[in-house]
Structure formats: C-alpha cells, structure tokens
Symmetry: C5
Subunit: 235 residues, 5 copies
C-alpha cells in the first residue's frame, strides 16, 4: 500500500476491508479512495450456476466513514444472465439515489463478459460495450469505467454513448508495457478522460515507474513512445 501510494496515482480502488489500510497511512498527499461497493461471484475458473452481484450493506455510509472520493459499482452483462443484469441495475440505481443528496460521485463500471477458456472473460465487442455504457449514463453515472474495445478505433463510440459523462478506461488483462502505453494513448485521443489500471500496474516489476509513466500520458500529454522510453530508462 505504501509503495502504491508513494507512486502517486490520483486514486486507488479498494474494498471496504482494505480501505482502512489507505486511511491509516501517514502524510498529507495520499491518493483518493475509490471504494468498491459490490461483491460478485462471476470471476474465477469455475463460475457457479447462479451468478449474482451484491451491494455491501450501507455502502454509502461506509464510503463517508472511510472518506472515499468516489464509489464504484459494476453493471455486469453476461449472456443468458438477465437476473444478474437486473441486480446490477438495482445496485446502480440504489447507490445513485443514496449519493444524490450527498454529492458523492458514483462510478459505474459496465462490464460485458463472455464464456472463455476458464470461466468468463472480458467481451470487447464495441456494440455490446456501447449499449452498456449508454445504460450506465441513463441511470445517472457520474463517471464510467469501461473496457477497451477489441478494435481500439471504435472507442470514440463508447465515449459518445456516455454523453457528458467522463469515461475512464479499464486496463484489461496483463499486456506488454508497449501495448499498454499505445492503448492508453489511443483511448485518450478518442476522448477517454483517464484510465483505471490494476494488474498492469500492481503486478508490474516497477509499479511506481509504471504509474508515473501512465500519469504522464494522461495528465501531461506525453506520447506513448516517450512514456515507454522514460519507463525503460528506470530499469
């Protein structure tokens, strides 16, 4: 946690059980807390027969207590799972209503999945993502965190479907530094407002360097090539 915080990302996404670790860090310049508010059973190599996504009880009160800057909730669309989608619509809708009077922003994370080699994997189909992102916007998301489309050239459609809602891009599976940098540059050029990366930072050999390189692309307009060079120079 210390290492990640010192790398200086804008925010870190944590579960209610992990969040106190961030809160307990000393010092004035901590990243903002994005609190995950739901638990789902769609992950893993052998997903069960009934899929669900449950909101943490009193998620908004918990977010206030933990001084979260934002909360995040999934909008999961899996083939043949209308009840899962229904529950996610309810989850988003409940959080939106609870956060409205508090001014606490709600980040919605539309996530289309499809059967993969082991369990479900990300579905990068642009049409599917666009439909989900539009639904998230209609439900009143303040920020949308969406997967990159398989065809990166289609990402502008995702941004357009979100309307006036800023879109942050998920990192997706583990990829090479070069691919990550290029993808980041591509989605930003098509209107994405930022990025939310997990494994590609946390599991990187140099998380701090990776964080700084990505932030340079997002905040300073550095090119993918320059950022990659700066990262490589640290090694």
């Amino acid at each position: 946690m210390r290492t990640l915080a010192d790398a200086g990302p804008d925010a870190i996404q944590l579960s209610p059980g992990e969040a106190p670790l961030l809160q307990e860090l000393a010092g004035p310049h901590k990243p903002a807390l994005v609190l995950r508010t739901d638990v789902a059973n769609v992950y893993g190599a052998s997903p069960p027969s009934t899929l669900w996504s449950e909101l943490v009880e009193d998620a908004v009160a918990r977010a206030l207590g933990l001084d979260a800057a934002c909360i995040v909730v999934n909008l999961l669309s899996l083939p043949g799972e209308p009840e899962l989608y229904r529950q996610c619509v309810r989850n988003v809708s409940k959080l939106r209503a609870a956060c409205e009077p508090l001014g606490l922003p709600v980040m919605v994370e539309p996530l289309a999945m499809k059967p993969g080699d082991a369990g479900y994997g990300v579905n990068g189909d642009a049409d599917t993502i666009v439909t989900l992102v539009r639904q998230a916007a209609e439900l009143g998301a303040d920020v949308i965190k969406a997967d990159p489309t398989d065809d990166l050239g289609e990402y502008g459609r995702v941004v357009e479907a979100a309307g006036r809602v800023p879109v942050l891009v998920r990192g997706g599976g583990r990829a090479s530094d070069e691919e990550i940098m290029r993808r980041t540059e591509a989605v930003l050029q098509q209107g994405a407002a930022g990025i939310v990366y997990g494994r590609n930072v946390v599991q990187h050999a140099d998380p701090a360097g990776m964080t700084r390189a990505l932030m340079a692309i997002v905040h300073e307009g550095v090119s993918a090539e320059e950022a990659l060079a700066a990262l490589t120079a640290r090694a």
Copy 2:
C-alpha cells in the same frame, strides 16, 4: 437537446441520466420534463429468458430534484409473462402512492407486445390495448400514453376505457410523414388528448418542422393535409 427544445414541444421524455441536459439549457421557454422512471429488458433483437421492468430507486425524489412536470412508467403486457406484468402493476402502484401527496402527475404507458421478427414488437390489437388501458385507469393513472390500435377506427374504445383520464397516443415505428399526420388526426378525432412521438420526430430530417406540424394538428385543429403541406413547404 438544444435543437429539440427550440422546436418547442410541450414536453420531452428523458431518463434520469439525460434529464440534467434539459435542466442546464438556458432560457425561460423550455419544454416540460417527463421523467422516465423504469428500466426494462424487453427491447432489442434477442430478449432474454427472464423479462423485468425495474423502477429507478427514489424515482419521485429524483423527479422533484429535476423539476419534472410528470413521471412516466410502463405497464408491459407480453404473452406468457405474468411476472413482468405483476412487477409493472407494482411499479405503477408505488409511484401513484408516492406522487399522491405531492400532486405530481403519473403518466402510465400501457404497452402490449408480441413476438416479432427480432424480439418483441408492438401489439396493436384493440381488445388487448383496451384491457390494459382500463387497468391503468383503475390503478389511478393521471395520464395514459397508449399505442395506436391497428384499426384506427377502434381508438374511441381506448379513450372510453380510460374514462376521465386523458389519453396521449404513442408514435409507434417509423412511418411516412403522411401516415403520421393522418394517424394523428384520426386519434384526435376519436378523443385522444394529445400525442407523444419519438423516432418519427427525432429521426426525422427536419425535427423542428415535424414538431411544429404535429403541434398545429393537436393544438390548433389544423388538418393532416394542411400540416403536411406546411411541413413540405419547409423542405
């Protein structure tokens, strides 16, 4: 949104996520907001095995916050889907109870559907629409938004089933200007109180002209023929 608002319709129907766009428009003469309060999964080419229609959480508080003039909710009747209908009855009933002390009008949108080429399509059978409209009236709808009957000559029965509740007519699928104008004239002659059109205005080459032509029929008693001529003259 600016374009639509400038065309001067009486009202625009928007979701909670879209409604702030209308609210943020400057100027004193904005159309009234009709806030959609439910999300359903019955649309699209491949409807899922379980169909549902969920109310947005705290829909009435949201409507007040967004300064809505009216809220709208579906009463969906699909063959072999009694649970969907049940949920819609609950939705209407909940909204009616919540709006009663506030004086906020509830528009109920009875919508009979049947299996079509791709997913469900509108069912224009007069008996089915009449039964649904009567149910909406018994539940206490303040306004009813109903589909045109396949046989336009039967529309008077729909108006009669609504009793003292005014009936607005839905636009249905994309049709020629002439058909739209004639249909509008026909349902108004049989007692409909107004119209609520979507694609036939928004996707029209001249949305402002179409809006004005239709409003002339509704508010000024202009004939379909005259309205069509006025619209054509703009082209």
Copy 3:
C-alpha cells in the same frame, strides 16, 4: 355513476382509479365507498401460468384520502395455487394490521375458484367456502363477503363459520330477476347480513329498480315475491 348513486345503494365498491368519480358527485346522500385494494390476474378466459394478487401500495392511506367507509380485499383459493393463497393471506394480514389503529373496517372476500370452460369460475362447494370463511374470520375480518353456496340450504354453515363476523353475499354470475330475489331471501333467512351485487344490478335493464327491490328485501324484510312484483311493476 350518477345513476347508480341515485338508486341509493348503501355502498359502492370501486377501485382507487374509479373512486374519485364518486367523491366528485355533488349532494349530501351519496352511497358509502368500499375501496378495492388489490389487483389480481386470475380473471379472464386465459389465465396465465403464474397467478398473483397484489395489494395497491399504501392502500389504507388511499382509502383515508378517498373517505372510504371500508376496504375490501380478496382471499383467493384456487386448486394447485398455494402461492396465490399465501399472498392473499399476507394481504389480508397487512391490511388488518394497518386498519386496526384507524378503526377502518376490513371486508375480506374469500373466493374459491375452479377451472371452468374459459379460465376459472366460482367454486360454490360449501365445504370449501366454509374453510375459507373460517380463515378470513381468524385473520380478523370485520366483514366477510362470500359467494352463495351451490346448495343454498348450506349457507347457514358459512354464516356459522364466520362466527361473530357479519357475512355479505356476492351476486355471482348473471341470473334471472326471480332467481336473484329468491337467492337473496334464502341467504338472509340463514343469517347473511346483507348482499353485494355487481353485474346483476349494473347490467340490469333497470339498475335503480333492481337496487331498490333488493334493498327492500334486505332492509325492510320484504319477501322475494313482493320485491319481484314491485320491480316488474316499474317495467
């Protein structure tokens, strides 16, 4: 509504959407309002696979607002439909608890049905009705509205099962004036406290005359024969 009200029945049973019509009538001598508080999908020629009976939201507040003298709710018993019965038990129980502190009477309408030629029809079996009526009484009904038994001579058992709760008799399907008068006389002789007729009054050629004839039997002890003669004399 005016016609019916002028006929001077003691009360009229209406849905929440219809009730304002009665309230808006001018004049001091209006019939009392019995407000229907539930919506069921068991009627019609093709009942769906899942049957339900839903309470109108905030039914008791609605009843107070509409100045209802009594509310009415079904206790539906259909073969092979334990969930429907369960929901009705819940409905009765909820209303009873909500009305207790207000002193608002709850009329329970036990209704046994069985598969008929088209959809479900009334089941006039005395044992079945007696069991249902006893359940209604145990749940705390203030008034019970029960079907006539196929064998009218068994109606005393229904009255007995209700204990100290007064029993009003439903009209059942459309029948001849003579049959209606005789049935009314028979059930009153066995202890029924009154009648609640629908189609046999509303669809009668002379609703006002029919209402007066029936009220004479109930309130003035006029015989079926005399009442029939008085009705015929109006024609």
Copy 4:
C-alpha cells in the same frame, strides 16, 4: 368460549380473529390469552405442493392490544421442506426480537410431521423432536410446546434438550380419557412443566370436567388414576 373459560384453564390459545371473544367476556377470572401468530398451509387431507407458514402482520402489536399473556409460533419440520423450516426459523427469530424489549413471552411450538394417510401427521420420533426442541431453545424460546414422543419413556430427553426452558406437552390426536390421563402423568414425571391440550378437551363430552381433571394432575399432583375416577364420577 363461556363454557371453556368457566372451566378455568390457565390459558386459552386463540387466533387474532377469535381473541376478542375472550376479551369481551365479563368477569375478573378469565383464562390468560395465548395468541397464535402464524398461519400455515400444512394441515388438511391434501396439502399443496408449496408449504408455508406466514406470520400475522404486526403480531406483537396485536398481542399487546389483545392483552395476550404469551404468543405462540410454530417451528415446522417436514421431510423435504427446508424452505418451510427456514421460514419458521425466521418467524421465531422475528418474534423473539420484537418481544425482547416488551417482556412478552414467546412460546415456540416445534412440530415434526411426516406423510400420513391423508396429508401430514405428527411425527413422534424422539430424535427428531429433541433436535427441534434444541433449535427452539437456541433461538431463545421462553416456553416450548412439544409433542409427546411415541415412546413416552424418552420424554426426559426432550425436557433436557430444552435446557432451562419449560416444556409444555401438546395433546396430540383424540384418545381415550385413560390414555390422556396416563400420558399427562408420564410426561410430568419426566420434567414437563405443563400441558396444552386441544381436541381432547374441546371435543370431550364434558370439557369442564376434563379441564379440571387435567389441572388436578398438573397443579395438585393428583395421580392419573384419581383424576380419571373424579372425571368418571361426574358422568
């Protein structure tokens, strides 16, 4: 009711709809009211496919209003019916929580049933009863009302499983006066704190005599033989 009350039992168990009858009796020495708080559909010759046991709404408020000395609720265990058992666990738990701050005692009635000739009958297996009684005690029952075991000699195990919670014994099906007296003596000798009999008193030719004979065994330590002789002497 008058007859039963005059016989002077310690308490009478009634449903919410029947209880006012007791309350309306004049005189200072009325039996205490034990209010039944649930409705189940497990009884009768043809139990339905889905079994349930529903709490009466606001049962505790009703009990206070009716001046009940105790409330009673079932804990039903039927083979292959885990949802029924689950609902009963919820029912007991809800009542226990609601009664805790009021000091109103909760009598739990564990009832093991098994398929019989017509519908379900009582299951007198000692192991099954012991398990159920232990569950009732763990849930916080103040009093437990349990069936006699088939082998009366095992009743001590039931009393032991209840721990510090007093056990009252249910009457079971109709039996001869002699059998009833002997059974009563036997269970009391093994630690039962009292008895709760229904049909064997109410349907007896001499309910008052039967009540007094049984109370003599319970409260005065009279033997079964003596009590039987006293009862016979009244005939």
Copy 5:
C-alpha cells in the same frame, strides 16, 4: 457452563438462547461472550435440498443486550451452492454495517465444506480456505476464525490472505490430545493469533485441564510437548 467458565477460557461462543446461562453466572471473572448470530441447515447426516444460513433478527441488539464481546457469523462455501454463499455474504455485510458505529467486533467464520460420508464435512484445501479468508477480510471482518488446512504447512498463506485481520483457528473434528497440541503449536508458529476449539475441549474427559493446556500454548508460549505432559500429569 459453570465447569467451562471455571476453566477460564478467554471467551465462550453461545447461541442467543444459551447466552443468558453465562450471563447469570455469579462472579467477576467470567469468560467473554461470543454470540453466534446465524442458523444454518447444512449440518447433519442428511442435508436438505435447499441450503440456507439465516441471521437471527436484530442480532446486534441482542448482542448488546447480552453484553457480548464479539459476534460471530459464518461464510459458508459449499460446491454448487452459490445462493448459500450469497446469503452469507449478505449476512456478513449486514452485521458489519450494524456493528461499525457501535465498535462491536465481527468475527467471520469462513467454512468450506464438501460432501462427506454422511452430509457435508470440512474442506481443508488450502486454496479454497485462502480464497474464503480473503473474501472475509475484504468484507471487513475484525477477526477471522478459519479451519486448519489439511497441510498444516500451508497455514501461513491463510494468515497472509487475512492481511491485518487476526486469524483464530477452528478445532475441527475430534482428535487425540497429541494431535491437537501439535496442530495448535503449528498454526501459532505460522501467525495464527489464537484458537477456537469446541468438541476437543467440551467432549474431553478433562475440559478444564484441556482448556488450561491449550491456553498455555497460546498465551505463554509453552510447547506442545510440555502442554501435553502437563495435561497427562493431571490424569
């Protein structure tokens, strides 16, 4: 209860119905109360077709009333039972939210089970336990009570998955004194914070001696060998 309390364990885990027994003990040095807050139907030789785990109503208020030092709730993972797991996630989440403002610690007891000879038995697979323990930590457990892994050498992974949350080790099935002592020593060496044993203490021939021997290992760093010798010396 007196015997167990006199043996001086740090705490005793009891159901709401059993807990008053502890509270009623006289004297200043009673063990702390850990209140069990759920009831499940997964135990026993013939588990039913639908498995569930229900929270006791108002469990936290009950815990406060009983002066509990901690509450405990299960997180049950059984193969092919996603609804059971979902309910447990809800249970943990509800308790966590209710205890947050009160400062009452929540002990989560992740319990992986698998089909055994008769009903379900404990699943000691390290990967499964690690996943469950991580989930418990993310949900915000204050203390985690986890089974020993089949391979005791893997227990460090369990402790690591819990992060900053202390892990107490469950006793598992009945085993020899020697095995119990060794296992206790092993898990403590890998970072476990303590132990929670049931049958291996309660069903022991010398519960007080067993309790003291185990507490010597946990609190005084006595070796398994020494503790065993001390216990044997009492015999």
